[in-house]
Symmetry: D2
Subunit: 438 residues, 4 copies
């Protein structure tokens, strides 16, 4: 379609460029080059990530070299240099690294609560660690590339996006691989191109329901609800949905909703899995170590297959598609995390929601949702309450608000458990929470 912008090509900054995911996004840029002419790709990381940045950065350079495309790959520890004049900025950070994630998962489990890095008390800690860092990055963007789009993958993506939209002027969109993942699955299952599929997402990041599924113009929602075993994600332990419950739910639940609807079974599985394999963080750590071993191989010029087992399949595809649509004004429909406006009439206008959007080069325009099933409203509002309090706690460093946030989370069973978790987790995250420990 229409092509606008810098005629010499685009500057992209990837914050957290030393991540094991980087080869995915590099592959994406190479594949989409015709639509999305990247001229400069800046991979930026912090001092502790220098080693990984070098390994993955060298692989990126080899991948580009093989492609023969005129993309310059820059590696840097200087964030401001990477951000200055960028057209698109993505973040794939993990404040506190996998070590912090380990405790996000472990401490709750020890107290009989779901331990998960985006949902539950773990996600709250991740938000408290991450939001101040992201807002700090936004200060740089406001100064150095105020017209850039910030595409945020950093979890918990819903809260991070809302924090950015409320506390900065940066143009930001949150995104997740779940929507594209569902469409890929439907495309395969029904043997039809993705363009022939329509899915309507209602809810929040990692707390959505898919309330319309149309494939080749035929309503397939009920069929999908009946074949419930099919849509478990790889990085979420499997477990059985109650068929009558699903039938009445009015939408295909996000796999993260298992933590809310099957809390007992999921907790049991977590505890057993931890005994067998350690926390999910430790599992991921081993996978990552293996990946970096592979990346070091000077003969490797492609994204290795093994990366796909890492969990975040389609992340880079989602990112590159979004950049393409923003850059080229494609006006296709993508499911994104944006400010609510009037879409869900029971949430504030500035609350982030996950919703279908028409993507124009002025940004995403959310589509109305056809219908919000009565039975999901309470849970959406309960989790959004927790999210808003968490954001406020992250910005202020106020323990009192953090306690209210923790108590408000539907997976936390009581004030006394909330207090125990909060005290223990804040203490454990002390190095990453300056606002709480000044």
């Amino acid at each position: 379609m229409v092509t606008v912008g810098n005629s010499k090509g685009l500057k992209i900054a990837v914050i957290g460029g030393g991540s094991s995911y980087t080869p995915e996004i590099v592959e994406g840029f190479i594949r989409k080059y015709e639509q999305l002419p990247v001229r400069e790709l800046w991979l930026v990381d912090i001092e502790q990530g220098r080693h990984k940045l070098e390994i993955v950065g060298e692989l990126a350079k080899r991948m580009v070299a093989k492609s023969g495309l005129p993309i310059e790959v820059h590696l840097t520890l200087d964030r401001r240099e990477a951000i200055a004049g960028a057209d698109f900025i993505t973040t794939q950070m993990r404040v506190g690294l996998l070590e912090a994630r380990k405790w996000d998962e472990h401490i709750p489990n020890q107290h009989g609560v779901i331990g998960q890095e985006t949902t539950g008390p773990g996600g709250m800690m991740k938000a408290l660690r991450t939001i101040p860092v992201l807002l700090d990055i936004c200060r740089d963007i406001e100064e150095l590339s105020p017209n850039a789009w910030l595409l945020n993958f950093t979890n918990p993506a819903g809260m991070v996006t809302e924090a950015i939209n409320r506390y900065s002027k940066v143009k930001s969109i949150g995104l997740c691989n779940a929507p594209i993942g569902l469409q890929k699955r439907l495309s395969e299952q029904y043997q039809t191109p993705i363009e022939h599929i329509y899915t309507e997402f209602v809810g929040l990041n990692h707390l959505h329901w898919v309330t319309r599924i149309e494939v080749d113009g035929v309503d397939r929602l009920q069929e999908m609800l009946d074949n419930r075993e099919d849509y478990s994600a790889k990085n979420v332990p499997p477990s059985e949905w109650d068929p009558e419950f699903l039938k009445g739910l009015g939408g295909l639940p996000s796999y993260y909703l298992k933590y809310f609807y099957m809390t007992d079974i999921m907790l049991e599985e977590q505890v057993e899995s931890m005994k067998a394999n350690g926390t999910r963080a430790e599992v991921v750590k081993r996978v990552e170590d293996e990946l970096f071993e592979l990346y070091k191989d000077p003969n490797l010029q492609d994204k290795p297959k093994q990366l796909e087992q890492r969990g975040g399949a389609y992340y880079s595809e989602a990112a590159v598609n979004l950049m393409d649509s923003l850059y080229n004004d494609k006006r296709d429909i993508q499911t994104l995390n944006v400010s609510n406006g009037n879409i869900l009439d029971f949430l504030p206008a500035n609350a982030s929601i996950e919703v279908n959007c028409l993507v124009t080069n002025k940004g995403p325009i959310p589509l109305s949702v056809t219908e919000v099933p009565e039975q999901i409203k309470g849970l959406i509002h309960a989790v959004k309450t927790y999210e808003r309090l968490t954001i406020e706690a992250a910005v202020t460093g106020d323990r009192g608000i953090a306690l209210q946030a923790m108590v408000s989370h539907p997976l936390v069973p009581s004030v006394s458990v909330a207090r125990t978790l909060l005290d223990e987790m804040l203490e454990r995250n002390k190095p990453y929470l300056p606002a709480f420990f000044e």
Copy 2:
């Protein structure tokens, strides 16, 4: 103030007139006679309650005789006769009697869930049993006394009131003794008349927060939050609030909120109390038996002191005050259960809420709430979601909706527990749930 209505005096119908509470309301009518000239008091009950109706009815007659007032007391099993031409109708029913309550409390406890007759799965069963009966009574009122006010005390009062407001044309108001109870307590504690106290209630029936407490023009909310041990209700097991949590909550919580905020402790207490004393239903049953023994005494001409230990203190005072204000257009402020309108902007207009109202003789006019603390919105919406699904299930007899309702309740930990509870409880309540077993 202004006096309107039937110049010959008022006709009152008390549905469930055989209740042990009846002497309270009779005492209220005698005390308020000057403002509220009752001419006919109809106590109506069902066949199974005939014996209790006779005992308590005879006591009522003796009480009136002693007062020397020209009030006629009628006892009847014919509901339509009692309703015809009534000015005010109150309900104090217990569909399924205390036997049903016992199971409302017992079954959840057996599955590790709070067992309580208004909150949690027990309250849901109570709603399923009660709503159809109340709507049936409303059909009679629509026909026989369309201008009557129906004052509904029958629990769960919030859901019952919403069901009536949505599915009948009867003018109905739900009320609870908690608001007047708090004001009595404040009046005593600060040694000032109730007229000098202002309390603002926000939320739902049995799920409210008092967000403003002013005594003699001085803000006492924070002080009350600090003296948290003071405000436990007699019929709710005591247990300690976390002081920091209360401080940040922004409102004095209803004592029923302990079930949500201290689920673990409350459950433990219930289980222990059951071991020691049986269910709360069984305790109440013993108290009631003793009361009826007292009532039988032909020399008794007054409400016996022991009734006050029964639990629902001030119920009749609340009822008589409300009738007085409606009848005399008093325009005082009372906390009532009415339709939301625009008060809470995240709930539907026809949702029942508990809110301060100006009481005029055209009915209550809700007052704006000064502020709704962010931290309570999610829980209010979650419980209202459960309530609306429960009402829909009660009206339709649809098990699928009942399952969604049960799952939506914040005290029910998972779909599998919800299903177990629902199946067991529906089966146990079979005689009272014709819509589910047709």
Copy 3:
């Protein structure tokens, strides 16, 4: 894209098939045949229109014959036969014919008020005549083709669509040629395909503002506001916009907004034009007579050029495009008249608005509007108030409500003028307003 529906081809019913516009839509079906395989085209009209139906129907048959396509053209006076089993139904009716329009324009002018067939008192009369007839048609559709889409062009399209959506179960969409007309103009002006243009419409039918205009990704709104003389419609008398006013308005106004913003000048022009040429209705009558003379020519096998001067350019293109997108699930963006939902937060959910929609084969999904300029909210709400009262008057035949509607219209200067207009116009329209004269 995806093709669904009747494999043997589509049945289309055109109500008001004897209209001079019919050759346009026939041409559209021929041109789009590959995407939209019409098998049966039913042109239906009333007894008074029999002669015109025959003339235009024969032309339609010659056009189809020339195309060589297997489309059957049916002419009928039996509406039910035409509707039964139809896939798409369009309406292009004029209850009361051009004679009624003449008075819609003439009477207001005589009292110093804008005389216009869709805006002002004329539009109100048109709505009162048309809504009951359309609702009657809807009763047939509910019975005979409940899955059909009713595409409503009949003016006042906003009110008619809202009436259908509120008082019937028919799936209906209102549409207007203004949006496609603007895009055609922009496409020509900027020499770029329509797909490279994005326009955002905010408001109501014939009362919209275009608040975003992007051409090849470049914001052109301000430029368009500066070249204000360019966008007058052919069937609206020209007249000059105040440049400073436009600059601050925040959106390109619909040409019908001249009646609101330049009432004095427009009225003067109407009065002068009437002196010179008679009412617009009379002008149109002459054009139509000439058209039908042309249509009679048995050698004519194409839509004659002269039809384009008739005024409703692009109507059939809009209709055929919409059918194509509904049938083929094209998911393109079209500007349509649909129920508001939450889009404009100050209007009721069931109010019709004109808004960009994604067109899927389950119907249009409205897009959020980026921003509603403060300065247009009052006028939108004022006109919508008038519209809702008019719809209520049309459905009930209540003169009191009709008076409130007339007074509420911003172009009616006082209650006394409203009363005069209403009395005179109701009387004149007596044959078409049975609900008012029973």
Copy 4:
């Protein structure tokens, strides 16, 4: 009731103390002394008002002396001295004096538009002159008496109050004599005390409808609508309402609504009245001159009867009642101008509306409105749109916004008239509009 605050008595500041109304408020303080123990009454004016301040100030002193009460009357030109530590501050200002008012009335009339000092273009000029001065006063209050209540009578009271609430931290309430005036009239007409009357106001200042009128518990709205000649205000020219129109309106209209509903007749009356008596400003000027002649009489120790003909009857009674209820936490119902919150769901939360409030010593709590008739919503929103744009113009001095405001006013017939009026009126008000002429 409860008495709080400064035990030594209250400090009151009257800004615009040299007004001819001052004797009214002094009389009010004397009459209410027992409930409202005023210790210091500060009358403050500007240099140009020094002479009038001295005359009226001396009268005030004589009135207090006669009463024998320990109230100190202070006259000053130092606003900050008057404000410092005040408990209540009232404003009764006229920026530009009656000379400015004359042009507010005269210029619109010259262009065929209603000339009125609060409604129409005149009111807009008054708002542009007044809002910056009031906000300047608010800066002083924020600094010198942050806990004071500012009771604003200064017209246009709705816009001024909204401006204060949006652009300062001062606790402010707008009030008008219309509500108390209606109650006085009803009290007299039905021979019953005001306490037995309930009236519900819906709308904006000088743009309200009274949708409930209950006297001694009996609905009298329809009766009042039938006796329409009764309720014309003295300072508004009389003229006849259309009976059928009123019957269907659903509320008793404010007398200012005649300017909207009978624009033609009212304009004619204004033009004729101006020919006969000059503008209303000139009439008022003569009355004021006469009043000050009276005030000078050293033997005068009371408010002279003639003041009552001045027009603002009950203003001081309204003010003193409001202070009494705020100070003594009376919790009676008063009709006030406050922020909308959720009361009217189609207006922003921070829009000022005129609404019944419970007056507590923490401020007014708005009551829900029972129902908003459909037919008044559009006009309310149209005028509020004009008001919000006017406030924005006043604060920014932006001519473009001022033009949008003028065009948005329902009494201004077209953009060209708006532009003419705006240019002429801004020029005439140049000395009072520094923001526009910097």
